[in-house]
Assembly symmetry: C2
Homo-oligomer: 281 residues x 2
């Protein structure tokens, strides 16, 4: 029932960490890595994240029980089209992408009947990147969102969820639509604001920026290519998040008058209390 032959497509921080986590648990996994660069793949093999590798993706997924897409979101549709014909019936495909509507649609179009796609978004990672940053405990105690649709095979969903749970993750199920809407608020907008906040600074203001600024903008140091894909793929939701952020800022501006000190205090208190509700997580 559990997967034994895995293909990890993309062995950077996320893909590499899956390999390291599995290998640290058991030697019965056989893991094949795929990527563009043999050098990266060789490094992943050396680190023990994968057993073997290929720069040919159809080669890399041959006889896999589970194929996991760990490349940037913008590459998914093309990858699915290329691996579709090479997968055996019964193979399960999942991913680690930060958006879910487009890959769920693409999987339904590109994968043959009998191959089961289950969308996953393990919420791990950092502003670091690459196999060098991979580690066996990256996924432990983090949240993984799965996004089965009405057409998703229920057994495959359970198998994929067990897979992430075995890596130490908690599971929440959402529709692809709810996922992308909620993540625009909780992840994509924060990233957009962090980037805008950095770009707004002059050399002078950057020089006097303290711990608060550095915490607030840490995520802006993340990989630009990954985030370009995410922003473009989820642009409708992100625009809506920006629109609502603007409304909050407009409201704030009305409260900067001396006569509105009480309302401003209430606004800031509400924010502090709400943020405290996620303390210790």
């Amino acid at each position: 029932m559990a997967f034994e032959r895995l293909s990890i497509l993309g062995v950077g921080l996320l893909g590499g960490s899956i390999g390291l986590a599995l290998k640290s648990k058991s030697s019965h996994y056989h893991i094949t890595g795929y990527g563009h660069r043999s050098e990266t793949l060789a490094k992943a093999q050396e680190q023990g994240a994968i057993d073997q590798f290929s720069t040919d993706v159809t080669e890399a997924v041959r006889d896999a029980d589970l194929a996991i897409l760990c490349t940037p979101v913008g590459t998914f549709e093309d990858l699915l089209r290329r691996i579709g014909p090479a997968l055996n019936p019964g193979t399960v495909v999942t991913d680690v992408g930060s958006t879910k509507r487009s890959i769920c649609r693409a999987a339904e179009r590109a994968l043959p009947a009998g191959v089961h796609f289950v969308g996953s978004h393990p919420m791990a990672g950092s502003e670091q990147r690459g196999i060098e940053a991979a580690r066996a405990d990256l996924y432990r105690d983090a949240l993984c969102i799965t996004t089965p649709t009405g057409r998703t095979d229920p057994t495959a969903v359970r198998q994929v969820e067990s897979f992430w749970q075995d890596l130490g993750m908690r599971i929440t199920r959402l529709t692809p639509e709810d996922h992308d809407r909620l993540l625009a608020d909780a992840s994509h907008l924060p990233h957009a604001l962090a980037a805008a906040l950095v770009l707004l600074q002059s050399d002078q203001s950057l020089a006097v920026a303290g711990k608060g600024f550095l915490d607030t903008t840490r995520i802006a140091a993340g990989d630009a290519g990954l985030w370009r894909d995410i922003f473009q793929d989820n642009s409708d939701n992100l625009k809506d998040s920006i629109r609502r952020l603007r409304q909050h800022l407009e409201r704030l501006e009305t409260m900067l008058e001396p006569a509105k000190a009480k309302e401003l205090l209430h606004w800031l208190n509400q924010a502090a209390r709400k943020r405290h509700s996620r303390d210790g997580t």
Copy 2:
């Protein structure tokens, strides 16, 4: 030349940490604390941050060489008016406030000739508060901005800067006007955005928010009263910062179209590079 008899007005995180830092360096300081609540003052005395205390501010500054205002920014003008008549000629007064124009103006109005005010903004602190969070190393390796004006006594400036340097701080001098303008971008806007970002979330999106969101919004858990005072005192600059933030977001929105993928990548790369320029700080 160095100060020996100090009055710390407000013995919370910032004031208490000054006391602890001085006491950890030398026993020759004599420190008097002032505050509203005897209970807090007694706790500060117990922790060794102050030698004695009074809830009467004129009593608390009697015979001080240096009086440091460590209460919220909104209380400064009233405090200065109350301590002015009680200070001996030659006394130096400074503060730890996050805005500088208003206190520098208020000090010129409220303090008698011969009493020297030097504005300070030691950039330490956290989302924690109160004497319980105070620690002797809070100021070490952090930046302190001093804001002398054309009317500030040069000897007093040097004395106050030495004082902060003895606590382990680096010094940058700015005019009060430049300080408030730069800090609106580097500190007050990040705080406003963090609060808006928290308030924008639904229970559902808050539940799936990960490490990026938590880092980005940590400062929103800070003390609402302190930040109300700061926002109101620096409202003109903060409004201008919000206006420019809006321009960056508008620009971002134009880059969410598929045809603008390259521009978006450039925008994100610029932000990542700029943020990396403050890495390790």
